[in-house]
């Protein structure tokens, strides 16, 4: 029974998959606590589903279900719309119509924000209706609130983050059990950590979308997807973990955000070698972590479950509580505050990194000199070289690490090396992150 002494917020929940069902169940479970802490009754009035007849583990009253998201827009009593339907077309329409109807939006849709955030936040600014999206990045970790509110007075110098639990599970298993990418993916799928179609995760794009959002919030302009560098994890082989270990490193799908002296912003997501001794190297399984360096606060780390029904619904509920305040008192801001203090992405080819490169070569004389010749001609200096005695899948391997080099130069080198006669297959190259900046 709603308590009549409390304000009521009326929620339209669009999407009742894993996270949507978690939001509904947890709002019920902890209703007493939320009522006391927020002074608000949070009432779910509609739930949009594809098939109302489908049996569900969490079964809301049938009267709440609808298949039309426009019902939520059209119901004048609904204050807040929670968008959890996913995708970027119907979800875009829903968010747009919500803002135009003056209904606050809470969303966990990172792809939508990454690809169309610029338009949506412009509309939020014009209508004065906020969008909340804590659940879009790093599940239950309150990193959006941290960047927007707790670190509001900080210039963000860099972030280094593990933002995709699926990939982190796969890489953890490849590293610890020595199994192949395919086996690790299959395991992740069996455990429910990976989708049947894992492409968005393993391509690196899910993490890249989250990094794009964090960078945009940090630097005050909405970054374009084409200015983000992304590499996935599907080409890694167990031997890469072995070589990395020899070099004192492990491999993580790492998102790096940083800004240079000219205020150009760099956003990359790629499998990267990390020193084993660094705290991020110990973030295993489905956990996420974000290391933030601010000019005032220094180095801080946030760690927790980056996905899953409960952690993600914790963030949605936090947004609902903030939305309740915004409804009662006026919003703090509309979700994203653009400004001109930075305003430019760094051209990808000018970004720099140290690299690990593994080259399958024919077992013949002069190979090393041919390969190092290419690197030398391009001015890429070698930090270390490993040439294991054993062969891998029939090929000998040459492994180098380089000093810091412009990425464009490195891509040129990989191209040139691939064309050498003595090279027997596609080189694998990975960033080596020293964690010193």
């Amino acid at each position: 029974m709603p308590d009549p002494s409390k304000r009521t917020i009326c929620i339209g929940l669009a999407g009742f998959g894993n996270v949507g069902a978690g939001v509904y169940a947890n709002l019920e479970k902890n209703a007493d606590l939320l009522r006391e802490r927020t002074g608000t009754e949070m009432v779910v009035k509609h739930i949009v589903v594809r098939d109302p007849a489908k049996p569900r583990a969490i079964e809301p009253p049938a009267g709440l279900l609808t298949t039309r998201w426009r019902d939520l827009i059209e119901d004048g009593a609904v204050n807040i719309i929670v968008e959890l339907i996913g995708g970027t077309t119907e979800a875009f329409e829903l968010v747009k119509e919500s803002l135009l109807a003056g209904k606050i939006v809470v969303t966990g849709n990172k792809a939508l924000l990454a690809e169309r955030g610029r338009e949506l936040f412009a509309l939020a600014g014009k209508t004065g209706v906020p969008i909340y999206f804590e659940a879009a990045v790093a599940g239950g970790i309150p990193i959006i609130k941290t960047v927007q509110e707790a670190f509001v007075g900080n210039r963000i110098e860099s972030m280094h983050a593990i933002l995709n639990g699926t990939c982190n599970y796969i890489l953890t298993r490849m590293s610890q059990a020595g199994i192949s990418y395919e086996e690790a993916l299959r395991e992740a799928q069996e455990l429910g950590y990976a989708e049947a179609d894992p492409e968005l995760d393993v391509s690196g794009w899910d993490a890249a979308h989250k990094a794009l959002i964090l960078a945009s919030l940090s630097y005050g302009f909405w970054i374009r997807t084409e200015d983000v560098y992304v590499e996935g994890v599907s080409e890694l082989e167990p031997m890469d973990f072995q070589f990395a270990a020899l070099l004192g490193h492990t491999i993580k799908l790492l998102s790096v955000i940083r800004v240079d002296g000219k205020k150009q912003v760099e956003v990359r997501t790629e499998p990267s070698l990390l020193p084993k001794s660094h705290v991020l190297a110990s973030v295993n399984g489905v956990y996420n972590a974000v290391l933030v360096r601010g000019d005032i606060v220094g180095e801080t780390l946030f760690y927790g479950r980056g996905a899953g029904q409960n952690p993600t619904s914790s963030s949605v509920i936090s947004d609902l509580a903030d939305a309740a305040v915004a409804l009662a008192n006026g919003a703090r801001h509309t979700g994203f505050v653009p400004h001109g203090l930075y305003g430019k992405s760094k051209p990808l080819e000018e970004t720099t990194a140290a690299y690990y490169i593994r080259i399958p070569v024919r077992d013949e004389a002069g190979v090393l000199s041919q390969v190092t010749g290419v690197l030398g001609k391009l001015g890429i200096s070698i930090r270390s070289a490993v040439q294991p005695d054993e062969s891998f899948a029939g090929a000998s391997m040459l492994v180098f690490t380089t000093h810091e080099v412009a990425s464009g130069r490195m891509w040129e080198a990989v191209e040139a090396i691939s064309g050498l006669d003595c090279v027997a297959g596609r080189p694998v190259w990975l960033r080596v992150e020293s964690m010193n900046d």
Copy 2:
């Protein structure tokens, strides 16, 4: 120059020590960013100092300085008072008068809140004027905002935290360099990590104050200082770190907050053995960390600098930004929301823990059986025993770890053991934290 298109908040800064000077300097340094992100000009109008003539590393315009904090209360233009004078008497008056005058309070004073938070938040509730205090706990780590806002929908199951950088520095050095408590303290003082009078830190009370605040926020009633269990670090010896290492553990000044099945809340701060493999065991030097378990979000960790001019001023500035929103739109809440969902502290003697106990004994026959006899009679079961061959400062040592036991029972045992003829000195006993709950 203030931008006339922006709102202005007018700040009275009481205290210009390390943190106060940092707040002033960082507000200046990042004024452009704060203006863009908050839409607010943050103007410091008065600074309360003891001696205006004293030379300062950060030198504000002389016109801002005053020795009377009442100037801040009496100036109708001042909206927000930042209390950084410390202590619990004058600071109490200042905060009380601020609230009565309708001026929002931002404070970093953990002792004040721990000891007199109940009264102050009652007054904040009555006047409707909020108190912000992110800087009071864990320096730059936004743990107050996280507990109050991000985890608003979570029942907090437990927190395990390292909350005092001074003690953590001392214990890190004792563990890693094998030096004595006195040497490590002197080092900390030389590096500016410990005060000339380190009592508040090394007694455990500074960390205990912070734990009390976190627990009060989590469980909706203001916990009394007499319901908090506190032990300091000054009796630890290098050999305790050696024995802990033999047992696969390290020693940290650990604050533990947890709630039992009867909704009784336990708050303790004491040097504790932690498994070396646990992430908190790797939190070294002046860093702080808080591990929070929420019923929805699961396990999360927050890590950063727990003290110091810049990290702490990052939190003060975050509070100023929130205060600016409260001024413009109305406050979210007054700083602490009491409710009756928990409401009781667990009697200290009923709290349970596993223990490490080190007993200096005479080198004679029958010692082991006398000591184990006492433990057995009190129903305390031994998990492991170590009797090193060497002697330490002339005495032989007996080291036990126990299974979980009511703390009251353990204190009885220590009393009884101390009275045995074969015991040559005061036993040292420490909690052993398995980190499983």
